[in-house]
């Protein structure tokens, strides 16, 4: 054994960087003005949620059309958690003696993960989501009793309504009170009969042939299975610069083509809004964005600031890295709006998100492409207003010191001894701590150290002795956790578990010599 004392490694925490884009809440109060944006057209009206005063303009537009329906109403929303819209549909069914057809989520198709919660940190199992699911069921029962005919298609994420094949509304908003009053949502009211007819045709096809669950009108909700056989689908057609588009599983991908085309049209500016942005770096839409950046197109991107989704952070960072200075990224904590506007001339408004895995070659989404400056400008201006009301700013791969400097809380400053459990290899821990940002979390009353995406420790902090004991590594996900701050000004001495004395008189295992400096950054 060497006579030289083996030094325990010391790690200086602060310069390690968070991978990808990290959103920080703004500290300065943002303007809270809501404006209506007119399209200058009578046949296409831009509608949006006034989340400032909680006024449901989208809902009002829907209810007005439903109330004036003379023959039939086709309504697609995978959730029904708004009393007023349900009441309007019920009244229409009673008045028309049927003629109200609904595509929604029934029974087993309703899973916690499809409850699209705008608040990024909320666990799918919170009471709020359960309450929403309960309201959804109650509303469906009311609809069935009133004479609405309900069917369910598991992967249908679209949100649209067609009345009398004379008007259609395509919107980002689900039929929930939150969407109609609290979230930035928008949509287009289309009063062209041929366009409405096409959306009606799409609805009828999905409803007649792709549904797998059904509840016919009756005294109560009574869900049973369907086994339908689908004939060939004829793709949507548009007219006069207004083009309905869709992702209809593998039968039509005009939505993808439209998104790429709109992006490719941009020469100067793209205004893009999406709830999420994930996996685009390996996607044709991402390729189109890359091409736009090459053409020096400026991109304004509005998303929800979901820091806990690594894939989004990486994807956003990829975009920012493609065009430093060309891409302006804003986070709005409740935004759900989805649109792409090219040069204020052409707009795609649709019901999906910029996620590579959903809604482009699978599932069911709808959208509308309008080649009209008035409409495009209205949507673009709406997106700009929401971006003005942004709640978060984006930092690309910030160091944790920069995060703390920007206002994130500081945790465990100063010198500490990090004592590992016997099952841990000191060298691995040292390596992870040296290269990853370290965050202190609280999960179910316990304290957890998160080291990037690499390690999670359950810890016990002894403030008096300046000691952090690692109890165990943690493998479960951290939904429901709250951040207690970043270890941006911490010096951590890592101490391995003591070697057990041999009872057999054997020589202890050889220790590898530590680095001379004992310091890592």
């Amino acid at each position: 054994m060497s006579e030289t004392a083996i030094k325990e490694p010391v790690i200086y925490l602060g310069e390690q960087r968070v991978k990808g884009v990290w959103f920080l809440p703004v500290t300065i109060e943002q303007p809270t003005i809501y404006r209506v944006h007119r399209t200058q057209r009578r046949d296409i009206v831009h509608v949006s949620t006034d989340d400032v005063t909680r006024t449901g303009h989208i809902r009002d537009a829907l209810i007005e059309q439903i109330t004036n329906a003379k023959h039939k109403v086709l309504f697609c929303s995978f959730l029904f958690a708004d009393d007023r819209i349900v009441r309007a549909l019920c009244e229409a069914a009673e008045r028309l003696h049927g003629g109200v057809y609904v595509l929604t989520v029934l029974d087993k198709h309703l899973r916690a993960e499809v409850l699209d919660e705008p608040d990024s940190d909320v666990d799918a199992n919170t009471a709020k989501l359960q309450e929403r699911a309960k309201r959804h069921d109650e509303h469906l029962a009311s609809l069935a009793c009133a004479g609405a005919w309900l069917r369910s298609v598991e992967d249908c994420h679209a949100k649209f309504c067609v009345v009398d094949d004379a008007c259609a509304i395509v919107t980002s908003a689900n039929a929930t009170q939150e969407a109609y009053e609290s979230n930035p949502e928008d949509g287009l009211l289309l009063l062209d009969k041929s366009v409405a007819h096409e959306f009606g045709r799409l609805f009828a096809y999905v409803w007649r042939y792709l549904a797998t669950l059904e509840s016919v009108p009756g005294v109560q909700l009574d869900v049973h299975s369907l086994d339908l056989c689908a004939p060939a689908w004829h793709i949507l057609s548009g007219v006069d610069g207004v083009h309905p588009v869709t992702t209809l599983r593998s039968d039509e991908a005009s939505l993808l083509a439209a998104a790429i085309e709109v992006i490719d049209r941009a020469q100067e500016h793209l205004a893009i809004a999406s709830y999420s942005f994930m996996g685009m770096e390996h996607h044709p839409i991402g390729d189109a964005l890359a091409r736009a950046i090459e053409r020096k197109v400026r991109i304004d991107l509005l998303v929800q600031p979901r820091n806990h989704i690594d894939e989004q952070r990486i994807s956003l960072a990829w975009l920012l890295d493609l065009g430093p200075g060309q891409v302006r990224l804003c986070g709005q904590r409740r935004t759900h709006t989805k649109s792409i506007v090219a040069d204020g001339q052409t707009v795609l408004l649709w019901t999906g998100n910029l996620e590579s895995r959903h809604g482009w070659d699978n599932g069911i989404e709808v959208g509308i492409v309008v080649e009209d400056a008035g409409v495009a400008s209205a949507v673009s201006a709406w997106t700009a207003d929401v971006m003005q009301r942004h709640t978060h700013v984006a930092l690309n791969s910030p160091s944790i010191r920069e995060l703390v400097a920007a206002g994130q809380p500081l945790a465990l400053p100063g010198e500490w001894t990090l004592s590992l459990s016997s099952s841990m290899q000191t060298s691995i821990v040292v390596d992870v701590l040296s290269h990853n940002p370290v965050e202190l979390l609280e999960v179910d009353g316990s304290q957890v150290l998160r080291c990037g995406n690499e390690l999670l420790f359950d810890i016990c902090v002894d403030e008096v002795n300046r000691r952090i004991d690692v109890v165990r590594t943690r493998k479960t996900n951290l939904m429901g956790c709250s951040s207690k701050g970043w270890l941006a000004e911490s010096v951590v001495r890592v101490v391995g578990a003591p070697v057990r004395p041999s009872t057999q008189g054997k020589l202890p295992r050889k220790q590898h010599p530590q680095h001379n400096s004992g310091k890592t950054r």
Binding site: G200, R208, S237
Partner: protein
């Protein structure tokens, strides 16, 4: 007693084999009584003992015997011979006419002597080649000859023996009718748990004559109380109740839940139409508890009523008044009463079947609950329309398949049943009227599905 249900009465008639729908039914629940008899006399066959056989055979051979002959020819000894002859005289297997001491008693075996053909009272001694075994000093009297019973016993090798038993029999009192024996197992274990018998004042009047009824000849007894030669469940032939023996009456009971209630039988009188004008033909059915097979009673309906129920008019006249009571003139050839109804009355008389059919009008006659078979038809178009909607509501499955056709079918079947040609609502009218029934909305929505989601887009599909 509870009010009988029409469904139970209908089941009774079906199980009893009735295939014709009666014009009228009267029914009531009647209580069942358990009567415990201490001494009932039965006749059972037993094998003829060999000694008896020998004596009877000797009597047949000699024509006339005495104890002396028995001892002389059979060598049984004076005492045994004398005892045998007297015993056989007492059993009426031998006769000794003219001898007062040996006149057969009319009780006990009385029916055998009363109703059997007369024996040969003056049989003469026959010559025989049989030789005496000894010279006997036994008595030469009484001189006996073989009786008819003795001859039969000799032929068959068996002799009827008298047995006296106790038994617990079940009866209904109105009419007086034996319906079975109480469960033997329950009799065995219930000995110490018997309820007190009814006081004489509480015993139904028809049971007071049981002694006389049970003493009747079998054929007369059958008509009086339903007991013939045998009582099912007790071996041997029933002879009579031992005169002067005791019997006790108790209600026959059963436990239902925590309560003990008296068992009842369901008595139903069904009037069938005849080809004769104003005449009803009544049949009487008895439904018994515990799954016993129902009976058709060969009794006259006049046993139950003072009034003449044989004519339709008098029968209807005995019923308690009600608003829709038909008259004799309303009786159709098929045995139902034709009643024309307004909306409310037709709603009550439509029944609950999916297709129009005769229904029942409840009536009452004293303690009897009754039903008249009714052929209800609307008296005006409004009643017809309401009936049409009511029957449509019963056809949800067919409406979902083909709404318009079902409307037409229902209209046709109603008019056919009523014998009318009413103009009933169209399918379009029905689709508006039936919307108020949430349970039928699936059918109504299915009707319009084609127009809503198929027709508007067919041309677009084809064009592409």
């Amino acid at each position: 007693m509870s009010e009988p249900k029409l469904m139970d009465v209908a089941n009774l008639l079906n199980r009893a084999g009735s295939t014709v729908s009666p014009t009228a039914i009267l029914a009531r629940e009647i209580p069942i009584y358990e009567i415990e008899f201490s001494e009932l006399e039965f006749a059972e066959e037993t094998k003829l003992p060999s000694s008896d056989w020998a004596v009877l055979a000797l009597a047949r051979a000699l024509g006339q015997i005495s104890p002396n002959d028995v001892d002389a020819y059979l060598g049984l000894g004076e005492t045994v011979s004398d005892g045998l002859v007297h015993r056989l005289l007492g059993s009426s297997l031998l006769d000794a006419p003219g001898n007062e001491e040996t006149t057969p008693k009319l009780t006990g075996w009385g029916w055998l002597t009363r109703w059997a053909s007369e024996s040969d009272a003056h049989a003469n001694r026959k010559p025989t080649q049989a030789s005496k075994l000894n010279e006997s000093s036994a008595a030469a009297t009484p001189k006996c000859h073989l009786s008819v019973a003795g001859s039969q016993a000799l032929e068959r090798g068996v002799v009827m023996q008298r047995r006296v038993r106790s038994a617990r029999l079940l009866f209904i009192a109105e009419p007086l009718l034996f319906i079975g024996i109480a469960d033997e197992k329950k009799q065995t274990y219930a000995t110490y748990q018997r309820k007190r018998p009814l006081e004489p004042g509480d015993v139904p009047k028809s049971l007071h004559i049981l002694d006389a009824v049970l003493a009747l000849r079998p054929d007369e007894r059958l008509g009086a109380c339903g007991i013939e030669a045998n009582i099912q469940g007790i071996s041997g032939q029933f002879v009579e109740i031992v005169p002067g023996s005791q019997w006790e009456v108790r209600p026959s009971e059963q436990r239902i839940g925590k309560q003990t209630v008296q068992k009842t039988a369901l008595l139903a009188l069904a009037a069938l139409p005849t080809s004769r004008e104003n005449v009803l033909d009544w049949k009487i059915y008895l439904g018994l508890p515990d799954g016993k097979r129902p009976r058709v009673l060969a009794a006259d309906v006049s046993r139950f009523f003072h009034d003449d129920l044989g004519s339709i008019s008098s029968f209807l006249g005995t019923l308690e008044p009600c608003s829709m009571l038909p008259t004799q003139r309303d009786l159709r050839e098929d045995g139902a009463f034709d009643i024309r109804c307004d909306t409310d009355a037709l709603r009550m008389l439509m029944g609950e079947t999916a297709e129009p059919s005769d229904t029942s009008l409840p009536v009452k006659m004293g303690r009897w609950h009754g039903w008249l078979r009714i052929h209800a038809a609307p008296s005006n178009s409004e009643a017809g329309r309401e009936a049409f909607y009511a029957f449509l509501q019963r056809q949800d499955a067919k409406l979902r398949q083909d709404f318009d056709r079902t409307c037409a079918d229902v209209a046709n079947s109603l008019n056919a049943y009523w014998g009318l040609k009413l103009k009933l609502p169209s399918a379009d009218e029905a689709s508006i009227k039936l919307w108020e029934h949430a349970a039928l909305r699936a059918a109504l929505c299915r009707r319009r599905l084609h127009d809503d989601l198929v027709v508007p887009y067919e041309s677009a599909e084809v064009a592409q």
